[in-house]
Symmetry: C2
Subunit: 526 residues, 2 copies
Amino acid sequence: MCLLSSVLGSGGSNGTGPNILLLLMDDSITCLTYFYFLLFSLQMGWGDLGIFGEPSRETPNIDKMASEGILFTDFYTANPLCSPSRAALLTGRLPIRNGFYTTNSHARNAYTPQEIMGGIPDSEILLPELLKKSGYFSKIIGKWHLGHRPQYHPLRHGFDEWFGSPNCHFGPYDNKDRPNIPVYRDWDMIGRYFEEFTIDHKTGEANLTQIYLQEALNFINKQADSHQPFFLYWSIDATHAPVYASHPFLGTSRRGLYGDAVREIDFSIGQILELLKQKGIAKDTFVFFTSDNGAALISAPRQGGSNGPFLCGKQTTFEGGIRVPGIAWWPGHIAAGQVSYQLGNIMDLFTTSLSLAGQDIPRDRTIDGIDLTSVIIQGKEIERPIFYYRGNELMAVRLGPHKAHYWTWSNSWEELSQGINFCPGQNITGVTTHTQVEHSFNPLLFHLGRDPGEKYPISVLSTEYEDVITRISYVVQQHKNSMVPGEPQLNVCDLAVMNWSPNGCEKLGKCLNPPQSAPWKCIWPH
Amino acid sequence: MCLLSSVLGSGGSNGTGPNILLLLMDDSITCLTYFYFLLFSLQMGWGDLGIFGEPSRETPNIDKMASEGILFTDFYTANPLCSPSRAALLTGRLPIRNGFYTTNSHARNAYTPQEIMGGIPDSEILLPELLKKSGYFSKIIGKWHLGHRPQYHPLRHGFDEWFGSPNCHFGPYDNKDRPNIPVYRDWDMIGRYFEEFTIDHKTGEANLTQIYLQEALNFINKQADSHQPFFLYWSIDATHAPVYASHPFLGTSRRGLYGDAVREIDFSIGQILELLKQKGIAKDTFVFFTSDNGAALISAPRQGGSNGPFLCGKQTTFEGGIRVPGIAWWPGHIAAGQVSYQLGNIMDLFTTSLSLAGQDIPRDRTIDGIDLTSVIIQGKEIERPIFYYRGNELMAVRLGPHKAHYWTWSNSWEELSQGINFCPGQNITGVTTHTQVEHSFNPLLFHLGRDPGEKYPISVLSTEYEDVITRISYVVQQHKNSMVPGEPQLNVCDLAVMNWSPNGCEKLGKCLNPPQSAPWKCIWPH
């Protein structure tokens, strides 16, 4: 078994680090664990967990995970949207560096729909590529979202196994204008959503989470028996809209369909952690649970979650868009029942995982994630800023308890007039603006301890304002001066690149004919 | 020691019930416990507790209390304002019955400022009056708020001891237009706020919570030694504005001054529960923690708390005004770590306390509180409605997960234009209205499970609407048909009745001369 000293990074690449299990929720949850790493990275809002005050308290397993580990109150994702956050997680770098942004318009969220040309560049080094050097076997279960063209396939970027889909489970499409999203096992597609992998739009029934759970349990069983360290990235796409749950969970939540999905995820996480205990590898597995962005309030109430007391949701750089649940669990190494106020970021999971695996971070590039090992093991707190980007623009910066907005925008008046609202029921004059408003001369400043909901800008005439803005401006200037943006990957779209004929389609007789290539500059409305 | 059977109400008035400790927070917390009853009734919002998701998680003692007992997710006060809620708690009856409302204008919140003529009528039977028959010794520590004229003195209404004030700690007044609020020990005043009991308006420093804590500890010590059952109603006025904390707590919270006050209250509750354990009477004391109304968002961020995901705050009949923390604690009788979804109400503490003391409720009047004993001991759930009143109007009704608004109002346009806002940052068209809007024909209907923030009215065309409204309308009709309002106590004001010369002022040389009596109809703007 491992010694803590080797866990803390003194060792080399001899495979003595813990398993790593990352549980990433879609529209807000992640989990990194073990002598193995397990990352739950899902899609839920900060306020969707009982432990964070969701009134129905329907996440007993995740709440228990927190009570057995560390709850991060101030954990952030790298972007208010899915693909860029996931790219940041796996590269330890801001989307503006790894290319997961657009320059087509100013400050626009972009991701990887089927028609996107881009994806994760070969020049980026992904976490599983590095862990492989330490003897780790890596699997992604669920949504990849870093590009679906052959060169972006996760098995080309360090993962050894994949079960899941390259894009969101949107649809069903008619397979004419757009094909349905494929589901892969490793290199080959094995079916498509709404075809072999059914989702009943009317009832919301789908057994996908059960399938993804079973994949995780099988993988853990196999790895535990083989005694090879693993990195499992459990990145299922529930609770992303269209929301679904399997039959035993449908109608069981006090919160409706969205709550059914949350309950099924919570159940699944309970099963996974229980198996780690049963196999005797809980003490060898570092598990982290987080989310790729805040809850999508636009889909509420039937399809959207809760960001608790925070402002707005997914797509915005207010706290509701970026602050996400964070829980670290590693029995025997992490003391139970802790709360950490450390400003954490999903990118830190890259650096921390490498540290746990006894590796240094790459020295030839800027890594934005910091090593949280001392925070997790020794309860330290490290001062560091949080940068809130929307596309190619630095919208806001957090330092200590303060957050300065250099730009504010919820969405356009035009979208709002169509009923698209990222801040339903919330409206703060001069803050949740419907035009892009620059505040660089006098940034809007909030104290997130006194005012977690970003409702009360601090007076520009106060000494607090002067002191804090001076410090934040320095950090911003440093950041901007040293910033070398990556080649934007999310600028060009083309119907020809869609999932018409994924690898393996021939065997299934499910290849479709793509249209002629006709690239265009993707339009990102928000 | 007591047997559970006697605890559950089979016994007579032989003093074998538990102590009762009610901890009532001001602007949102209450606590009932022991073979004694201890009620913490304070002023905090639902979202102010770590266990309910306050991001700074600065209430470890209250959170621990919840983890050792039952957390109520759906606990309500009887009114969105202090005096009526407190009158309802002690009488088990809605303010519309016990007289704590006004008919001067429609649907107006009213309370007991210094100039109020009214108070708790002699015809009302208060909890300590009844507990006395079971041998209980009762003390109120903190704010009374049920009228300050001699006939309304708490020692005339069942309490055996009092240390605290009759009204809110507003001021400082100049002792000409208005006297400062007196602090009483039992029958006599012993000083006044801002005079003998200082509150530094600039720094927010006051050692009042420490004084109230010491009173509680002394009382518990004395009662434990005497083996006489007690009812302690710890009804301190922190965190009501003007917010204060003692020197050791000032500047210690991540949340600013309000957080300092919360931390001091949390510390105090930890001390009280610890003493119960030390004295060996924890198993004999039923403790309940709740609040008199939701957080006063109008005072935020420096002086106001959080209502978590709920809409608006104090003064309103949205969830933020009425839903409050509820925690029951009784080691050895209540299993640890429970969550109850029971719709509870502060008035239930009246009925439950009587039940625990082995007494029946009065049969000559309507009692609105229900007996929660089976909920607390056996985990049962009882269907019952929650009625949301604002003054003389039934504004809304909750039944199961649904809430129907018959009237909506936040506050007037006139007040809003003056910067008075009970829903800062929140604005839901047709819901947070600034005129009083009647919806009796088609009540606004919400599902509080799917939509705890009351943002998405359910379509009147849905079958859900039709089914639910039919059931709620029946309950409303029953309620209205049997309603016999009490004589309104909060209609008439007179400067002559202020705290000019409270009992005991002679000894202190602090009697002031009242002006001529000149009663007027009190003006209640919201």
